[in-house]
């Protein structure tokens, strides 16, 4: 039995966080958008699986940025189409 690797603890994987409902509605009203207009991420993405996000959840990704130092991005979890 192998120990499962937590991808988030890898240096090259940026921090993924599950957003609460209030945070999501604040985000959507801040940009005047619907969830459909957010960038997407597949539900079976390794990082999504670690934070246990489900389809239609929104996750926050905090990256190190060359230009800004720290940058936040948001992605909507969607189902991966078969094939």
């Amino acid at each position: 039995m192998s120990t499962k690797l937590n991808v988030l603890s890898h240096v090259m994987v940026p921090d993924h966080q599950l957003m609460s409902e209030e945070e999501v509605s604040a985000l959507l009203s801040r940009y005047h958008i619907t969830t459909e207009q957010l960038p997407k991420i597949y539900h079976d993405d390794p990082a999504v699986k670690v934070i246990d996000a489900k389809v239609d959840d929104v996750i926050r990704i905090i990256r190190k940025s060359h230009t800004a130092g720290r940058a936040e991005a948001y992605r909507l979890v969607i189902r991966r189409p078969k094939k």
Binding site: Y31, H32, I33, E36, Q37, L38, P39, S65, H66, T67, A68, A71, E72, A73, Y74, P81, K82, K83
Partner: protein, 879 residues
């Protein structure tokens, strides 16, 4: 004008025979076009119901003139159905996945569900040929399936096993059509076909649409003969064969003849649709030229999409060779008188400009010389009639002009035009210039604007476009003018600046302290707009002298403060600052050059520190002015001393040649010594390398060092008195390495970073012994370009040179394709007012443009704020 509407959806389908007959205005039965009187035959291919192309005639369908009638379709009833070549792959798939007797898909409902999914949970997949096993039994009716063979271009056959032998049984288009008709609608959806708009049997043609004459016009040759369009020729063939086919069918001709005619009809319909089908000889014109049929009209670079829709030829444009003129401003472009006379700008007549425009009309279409006022070629009346201005009607037309008319005025100095050089790789490839009418036949431009266009004068041609409306001119000037494009969005620095002689000239002018008397100072500053002379720097024997730094300071803005290191800086460990023996420490205090040499770092394109600072502090306009002045001053500077380079500038003295020989000899001895060590098996391999690799690296290192030493020896002899050294040090052109190769030693030639090893068995050339690992046997060139190469060296040099050429050729094609894909992916993105990057549909791509919302054009070489520069400008000192 109709209001814009949002497109809800687009449906793609096939034309059904019913639709073809419904949209047809005439059944076409005669292959002939015109009768002896030149009048179209009724029911012929040029029937007047299909639209008209001859002026004067009226369309029998819509009763409009040739210019207004859009044309109407006709149709041909085919004697027997034929296959549409464009759908052979679909037909093949359908024949293979459906039953030959009942027409159902050869999969049980469960199997279908596995591929397509249930109604609620669809996979988005469709049944493909791979999902159906070959020669299985139909799950619906139990019929044994046969293998379907397809032979290009349009032959289908079934493989029947007879007496243990495989026999191919040909399927006629009629058979295929019958089978496709049997496929039920429900099964088609699983196959990815919407039966409402595309029944599969419609891929087999029973009736052929005849396109309107307007899309296949005949042309009348000089001798009065009519020449028909390729499509018309092909339609004539189809009708002829179709007619013969019908006659033979009615007469009850033998099966063999019918089959032959059927195949012939199939061939003609196939080539009518696509004349470049594999396995089918192209239909040819009488002259032997392949006909340009339907698909050839659409395909490829000159086809309808790439050639007529995405890009097309335009009016009000001009193209000619370019040549340099340093006396023009960077924002100007010199155009030949012939171009200025031909190209026009429409000007609406108002009570305010009527007198000027009347005079322009009186000047007429011929401008005698470049200084003459511009004329006009046409005037347009309010009813849109154009009156051509000629030598005899100038005054009559000019007197008729009233407010409301339009005068098409010729170009004159100061007009705004767009100037472009292909390939247009970035936005600076098209910039707005103000024109200057000149004699000659070329476009003239200031060499300082060559870098953004990537232009040189070895025969380059450029294009010029004249905006026709006030809005277009304003937009061009505000967004695309040269001064707005000095900064490149690529790296946030100036892309326009001095090149070549500008840099050599300003270097020679400003390097080391020099003094000029009044006459010389005025000669240098003559092209520069200054109000008065500065006070003299020193007075000797009653004669006033001005320093070279003073002269340069005249073109600097008065409050400019900056400190930087010039291109000639050697990056010493401890900077001697003002006492730098190379005079490479540039200090500008309050608009005065206190120390240092002005060169590529200060005013060059891509670097231009001073230009950059002037843009930030004083704006684009002042920077453009500075570039104009610095280029003019530097040209004077280079003319003051004169500047040339000849073969004897590469000469060294006897001592240097002796030293170079010594260096090369000792290097050769060192190489043989190392080879000896290797051959004795004494060589210690470097970590991670084989012994051979270690030896190669050592040899490369020794030879590289030797070449550098020859360069240093040559450099010691060649000082700043040498033009090539001036160019290399100032950054104008070339490097010290080029000089080393000319005067000292060319050095090792390499292929893929290694010494040259390919050639014959164990040797590069038959001039060497097998297994020779020496320097000269593997591409080391001990001679210089000046001294001349021996034959083996020459050959190695050609090998190394070829690699460079291949690399550039490969790189340009690869990066071109990369850029094309990149542009296609990014072209419609824009930065919204809230700083997000979005698609046209409002979908977010980036939450903050570039994550820091910084426009790279306005950044300081990548950083949002140039803190160091600002602090230095305030403290007037390096920090």
């Amino acid at each position: 004008m109709p209001s814009p509407k949002r497109i809800g959806k687009i449906e793609f389908g096939l034309l059904s025979p019913k639709e073809i007959r419904e949209m047809s205005v005439r059944k076409i039965i005669w292959a002939d076009t015109y009768d002896d009187d030149g009048f179209p035959y009724p029911q012929g291919l040029m029937d007047l119901n299909l639209g008209v192309i001859d002026p004067g005639l009226r369309c029998k369908t819509c009763d409009q003139k040739a210019s207004d009638c859009p044309g109407h379709f006709g149709h041909i009833e085919l004697a027997k159905p034929v296959i549409h070549v464009g759908y052979t792959r679909l037909i093949r798939k359908l024949l293979r996945v459906t039953c030959r007797s009942c027409g159902r898909v050869l999969l049980s409902p469960d199997e279908v569900e596995k591929v397509v999914g249930t109604d609620e949970d669809q996979t988005g997949d469709q049944i493909s040929e791979k999902d159906v096993k070959k020669e299985r039994v139909c799950p619906h009716c139990g019929e044994q399936q046969l293998k379907i063979n397809f032979e290009k271009p349009t032959t289908f056959s079934e493989v029947v096993v007879e007496d243990g032998r495989k026999v191919e049984h040909k399927l006629t288009p009629a058979d295929i059509r019958a089978r496709l008709e049997k496929i039920p609608d429900e099964d088609l959806i699983a196959l990815g076909i919407n039966p409402k708009v595309a029944r599969p049997e419609w891929t087999i043609l029973t009736v052929l649409p005849v396109p309107p004459v307007t899309m296949r016009p005949s042309i009348i040759l000089e001798n009065g003969q009519r020449s028909e369009d390729d499509l018309t020729h092909k339609l004539v063939d189809i009708i002829r064969i179709n007619q013969r086919f019908k006659e033979n069918q009615d007469a009850g001709a033998p099966q063999l003849i019918i089959e032959d005619l059927w195949e012939l009809l199939q061939y003609h319909v196939t080539t009518y649709l696509d004349n470049e089908v594999a396995g089918c000889p192209p239909a040819r014109h009488r002259s032997g030229r392949p006909l340009k049929t339907l698909s050839q009209r659409l395909k490829g670079k000159d086809g309808r999409f790439r050639g007529s829709l995405s890009g097309k030829r335009v009016n009000f444009s001009s193209r000619t060779v370019i040549s340099p003129d340093p006396n023009l401003s960077v924002a100007e472009v010199g155009i030949p008188r012939a171009v200025a006379n031909e190209m026009t700008v429409p000007v609406r007549v108002t009570p305010y400009n009527i007198e000027d425009l009347k005079q322009i009309a009186r000047n007429g279409p011929v401008r005698p010389d470049v200084n003459a006022p511009c004329g006009a070629n046409y005037v347009i009346r309010p009813d849109n009639r154009r009156l051509r201005l000629g030598p005899d009607n100038l005054d009559t037309v000019a007197d008729m002009i009233e407010p409301g008319w339009t005068v098409e005025r010729q170009l004159r100095d100061g007009d705004i035009v767009l100037f472009n050089r292909q390939p247009s790789l970035h936005r600076m490839s098209i910039m707005a210039h103000r024109i200057k009418v000149m004699e000659g036949r070329t476009f003239r431009l200031n060499p300082a604007v060559c870098p953004p266009y990537n232009a040189d004068f070895d025969g380059d041609e450029m294009n010029l476009h004249v905006p026709q409306t006030e809005e277009a001119r304003a937009e061009a000037f505000i967004l695309c003018s040269v001064q707005e494009n000095i900064l490149s969005p690529r790296f946030g620095g100036p892309i326009i600046g001095g090149i070549h002689d500008h840099i050599s000239g300003i270097f020679m002018l400003t390097h080391d302290p020099r003094w000029f008397n009044k006459e010389e100072t005025l000669y240098l500053l003559k092209p520069v707009k200054i109000e008065h002379m500065p006070p003299a720097g020193k007075t000797e024997n009653g004669i006033e002298y001005w320093s070279n730094k003073q002269v340069f300071s005249q073109i600097l803005p008065v409050a400019l403060n900056m400190v930087f290191k010039a291109s000639s800086c050697q990056n010493c460990d401890t900077c001697k600052k003002d006492l730098c023996e190379r005079d490479a420490y540039v200090r500008i205090i309050d608009g005065k050059l206190e120390s240092g040499t002005i060169d590529k770092k200060a005013i060059g394109a891509f670097d231009g520190q001073i230009v950059n600072r002037i843009i930030r502090q004083y704006g684009m306009k002042r920077a453009a002015e500075f570039i104009d002045q610095v280029t003019k001053l530097s040209i004077r500077g280079i003319m003051f001393d004169g500047f040339s380079f000849g073969i004897d500038d590469e000469d060294l003295s006897k001592t240097e040649y002796g030293q170079i020989d010594d260096v090369l000899n000792s290097a050769a001895i060192d190489v043989t010594r190392r080879i000896k060590i290797y051959e004795d098996g004494q060589l210690e391999p470097m970590p991670g390398r084989t012994i051979e690799e270690t030896l190669e690296m050592q040899i490369m290192q020794v030879l590289g060092k030797a070449r550098d030493q020859t360069g240093q020896i040559a450099g010691r002899h060649l000082g700043l008195g040498n033009s090539a050294v001036v160019m290399a040090v100032s950054g104008a052109r070339g490097s010290m390495l080029n000089l080393t190769q000319m005067a000292g030693c060319i050095g090792q030639q390499s292929v893929r970073g290694e010494r040259i090893v390919r050639g014959y068995d164990d040797r590069t050339l038959p001039h060497f012994k097998k297994g020779d690992r020496g320097a000269d046997a593997h591409g080391f060139i001990a001679h210089s370009y000046k001294g001349g190469l021996n034959p083996t060296e020459f050959f190695f040099h050609a090998i190394g040179g070829r690699e460079g050429l291949v690399d550039t050729a490969v790189r340009t094609s690869q990066s071109g394709y990369l850029q094309r894909r990149m542009i296609n992916a990014l072209q419609d993105l824009k930065v919204a007012y809230d700083g997000t990057v979005r698609t046209t549909g409002g979908r977010i791509i980036q939450f903050q443009y570039g994550e820091d919302s910084t426009d790279p054009t306005k950044s300081a070489f990548g950083d949002p704020v140039d803190v160091k520069g600002i602090v230095e400008a305030v403290l007037k000192e390096e920090v």
